[in-house]
Amino acid sequence: MSIPQNRVKAEDLETSLRPHLDYMFRLAFRFTCKETDAEDLVHDVLVKLYSKRSNLAEIENLRSWLAKVLYRTFIDQQRKSWRSPLRLLKQQFVDNDDYDVLDTIACDAPGPDMALEQKITRKDLQEAVAQLNPEQRSVCVLHDVEGYTLVELEKILDIPLGTLKSRLHRARAQLRKILASGT
């Protein structure tokens, strides 16, 4: 859906974005690994978009563009956090609807490799993904989970193909390592 070509009012913006809200939340959850953080991320993106709504008329592929805005906002938030000297805590999952749906379902195609011979439970995988650094996790989520091709991501994220490939390679290697160690 494209944004109406005349001056974009708040209502027009909401009409255009509403069908993508669930996608934005899902992607934000995959980036942040927490529902409350996902809500915060989507909220921050929406606040940004209200102030820039007159520029949105030219956006052709709104979904991909939203993925880009979410990615950049998420990385900006993470960088602000990295700059803080106060990073002592490890946050715990306490949201009411935490991962109960992920707890018991296993991948039905376990590989014979020693590390992955045991079933990859979705809970284990979700926790492993959460342990990736934010940039690796974002690229892994967009490519391996959401299904964007590397060529698409090169355009969406403005990241060179080689950088994307190496980031993905390291992300998967890290995932295998985490899953194999069972932590």
Binding site: E14, R18, D22, F25, R26, F29, R30, E35, T36, D37, E39, D40, V42, H43, L46, V47, L49, Y50, S51, Q77, S81, S84, P85, L86, R87, L88, L89, K90, Q91, Q92, V94, D95, D97, V101, L102, C107, A109, P110, G111, P112, D113, A115, L116, I120, R122, L125, V129, C140, H143, D144, V145, T149, L150, K165, L168, H169, R172, L175, R176, L179
Partner: protein, 223 residues
């Protein structure tokens, strides 16, 4: 094509970035090399699991208020020229940092592994909690859960301490006078509740009978 070549080309093979000729070479090797085939299966399993990784849906509360909340916040930001409104705090990030053993007059210390995060048995120390929130949170409920080996000074039986506080935008420093009661490594939980949101953090302390300046492999630390 050798096993090393397959290893190098594996990602490109899965990502369909190889030429037809290269794909054929990879597949020919996989047909005769058991080890590479095992690696391939493992990689396939990982990618399948990733592709099927579920995500929860939005809560009805959030989906019903997402646009109104963002619009209100945008309006308030414009009106107040940079001052953040409490009405936007419903969906605002609540970031909590906890510092331990730091003097109250030093709000921005450099964190090192040698931070004073130990207590001696029978020693009382002020533990400072630095709560950083981007927006003011009125009547936020703060709860501290204390395990064995540690107690609130003057209230040795109280394992849980809750109180309401109005948090300002930015850094809020709260001080807890804690006393070590017996030796052990403990996990202290700090919980912040605001409206229907909740964040819980854990920080670790060691209570010992002698001074320890460094605690290796302490769980709960971000390197």
């Amino acid at each position: 094509m050798q096993c090393n070549d397959i290893c190098l080309k594996k990602d490109d093979y899965f990502d369909r970035l190889l030429t037809e000729g290269e794909r054929s070479e990879v597949e020919a090797h996989l047909g005769v090399c058991e080890k590479c085939m095992r690696d391939y299966d493992a990689e396939q399993a990982l990618r399948t699991a990733l592709a099927e990784l579920p995500a929860p849906g939005m809560s009805s509360r959030f989906s019903g208020n997402a646009f109104a909340g963002a619009r209100n916040e945008r309006r308030n930001r414009t009106r107040r020229a940079g001052f953040l409104s409490a009405c936007g705090a419903m969906a605002a990030a609540l970031v909590v940092w906890v510092l331990v053993g730091l003097p109250i007059h030093n709000p921005t210390p450099t964190l090192t592994q040698d931070i004073a995060d130990t207590l001696l048995v029978n020693e009382t120390k002020n533990i400072n909690l630095l709560l950083n929130t981007p927006r003011p949170l009125e009547k936020a409920m703060i709860t501290i859960v204390l395990p064995d080996h540690i107690a609130l000074a003057g209230y040795p039986e109280q394992r849980e301490l809750s109180w309401q506080a109005d948090l300002n935008a930015g850094k809020n420093l709260l001080t807890l006078p804690l006393v070590g009661t017996s030796e052990g490594v403990v996990a202290v939980i700090a919980r912040i509740q605001y409206q229907d949101k909740q964040r819980e953090m854990t920080f670790h302390m060691q209570v010992s009978r002698k001074n320890i300046t460094k605690i290796p492999n302490m769980p709960g630390y971000v390197a």
